[in-house]
């Protein structure tokens, strides 16, 4: 049965160009990049070439790019590393209530350890932070603002550039971090345009393998390493470099640049949204226009998300849900809750995330299959 993969916000396949770029570094060019001999230097070259590609992509300097294992690690390093390095009595962090758990849990950890106080900005019904709320939340102790570039569950884009400008106007330096994981493929990531000091991202959302990510650290940003040992990555992140994966990440970033035409995804997303909204009792979540072109999330009345996913999967369509039933803690999606969507409604959440290879036929098939599944599950439910 044909598989239609529409869960690209969760992860993407490794594309063959990326895979081929990585291959030599497993069986042939396997040297430790820190060794001075020929094989070491060969591996070192692979790492530094990747670093250069990534630095170019962000309009950053080479020494401002640190390789990590994933965005979660980058986020941990950015938040904990900054607070530790600043070593202040009462540092204050401002973040949003719709961040990825990596940001939220790291902030909660800092709060619980008494290392920082945190303000979690509310969002509007579309999941956007309001600049007025941010401005009001800033105090003399605020040292870090951390707002994701675009939301992974509903696709809403945050006003990163405007936040950067707002922070520049403050009377003291406030560092600015953004989790750009979902934005890399589709939005302007020039760090000077955005005005960010720290930027986290990962490979496996951009057709590189799982297990590699990076952190951009603007020169002059105080940061304490969270991984101690050897002096890799300018002593910012110990551990023998994961050469093949770093090479893969570099290649993937290069391909993002080449893949500048987003018109296909935009067009298919429009069609998908139009088709899905034909089903009665279905609402689109997230901002109607200020949204990523590849994510389309809905709430479907009268059905539960996991059962939707299972029946869709049976028909070869792979999507995801924010339903509480799929969370290990059985809590509804914190993003949908922050947007004011009650648990009974967020239960029926359904997220599609298109990929670079999603076709017209794929979208048409979803439009054909989904209504029947929704009807079936609605019939299965007791009338309340």
């Amino acid at each position: 049965m044909r598989q239609i993969y529409l869960d690209n916000a969760a992860t993407t396949p490794v594309v063959s160009e990326v895979f081929l770029s990585m291959k030599p570094y497993f069986l042939k060019k396997y040297g430790n990049a820190s060794e001075p001999h020929q094989m070491g230097q060969e591996a070192r070259l692979g790492v530094e070439e990747a670093r250069e590609k990534i630095a170019n992509f962000f309009n950053a300097n080479l020494e401002e790019i640190i390789f990590t294992s994933c965005a979660t690690e980058s986020i941990n390093l950015a938040h904990k590393g900054l607070i530790e390095a600043l070593n202040l009595k009462n540092p204050h962090i401002i973040t949003s209530s719709v961040e990825h758990k990596a940001v939220l849990e790291t902030c909660k950890y800092l709060e619980n350890r008494g290392l920082a106080t945190v303000t979690y900005l509310p969002v509007d019904e579309f999941g956007s932070v309001r600049l007025e709320d941010l401005e009001k939340a800033i105090t003399k102790d605020t040292v870090l603002v951390s707002i994701m570039y675009a939301n992974n569950e509903v696709g809403t884009i945050q006003p990163i550039k405007e936040i950067g400008e707002l922070l520049k106007k403050q009377d003291h330096k406030i560092y600015f971090h953004t989790d750009a994981t979902q934005a890399i493929q589709y939005l302007d990531c020039d760090v000077d345009h955005l005005g960010v000091d720290l930027l986290s991202f990962t490979g496996h959302k951009i057709y590189a393998p799982k297990g590699v990510g990076a952190l951009y650290i603007r020169k002059g940003t105080p940061l304490r390493s969270q991984m101690r040992g050897g002096s890799q990555e300018g002593r910012m992140r110990a551990g023998t470099e994961n050469v093949p994966y770093i090479v893969g990440l570099g290649k993937a970033i290069e391909l993002v640049k080449e893949r500048s035409d987003k018109s296909q995804v935009v067009r298919l997303q429009k069609q998908l949204i139009k088709d899905v909204l034909k089903i009665p009792g279905v609402k689109l979540t997230g901002h109607p226009t200020n949204r990523l072109p590849h994510i389309a999330s809905f709430v479907v009345e009268g059905v539960e998300g996991e059962s939707l996913i299972l029946l869709l999967s049976d028909k070869g369509i792979l999507a995801s849900t924010g339903s509480a039933c799929t969370a290990s803690d059985l809590n509804p999606s914190h993003v949908l809750s922050a947007m004011g969507i009650p648990p009974e409604i967020s239960h029926g959440s359904l997220r599609f995330a298109l990929g670079k290879d999603t076709t017209q036929e794929d979208i048409e098939y979803v439009g054909k299959v989904l209504p029947g599944i929704v009807e079936r599950l609605r019939k299965m439910a007791p009338k309340l």
Partner: protein, 131 residues
Amino acid sequence: MTKLFDALYSKDVIKHVRSPKNMGEMENPDGVATVGNPVCGDVMRLYIKVDPKKDTIKDIKFQTLGCGAAIATSSIITTMAKGKTLDEAGKITDEGLAEALGGLPKVKMHCSVLAADGLRKAIKDYRSKKF
């Protein structure tokens, strides 16, 4: 046979989600109960028709709004309860349901608890109406 990890769903669970048994509304049930609540995401309704002479479940139907485990446990409980005496049916446990489904992840056991509870409440409903 020990499981290496608490995997999501067994083949049997998926089978029930795909083709649930005895799904639907029952007209004039002898006993009915609705358990769960929409906030946690699972709502099950169980309908039973009882043979008063043999005190057995003549017919049983379910309706569920919930995840895969919720659908599977309410579906399989109808197959396990049909034909049984009310006493026997009332003794079906959450563990019994999980076993019959080839196991359930720990986080999903609350669904089997709900299904067993729903059946007991439907039986209670019938008994209370009889007198």
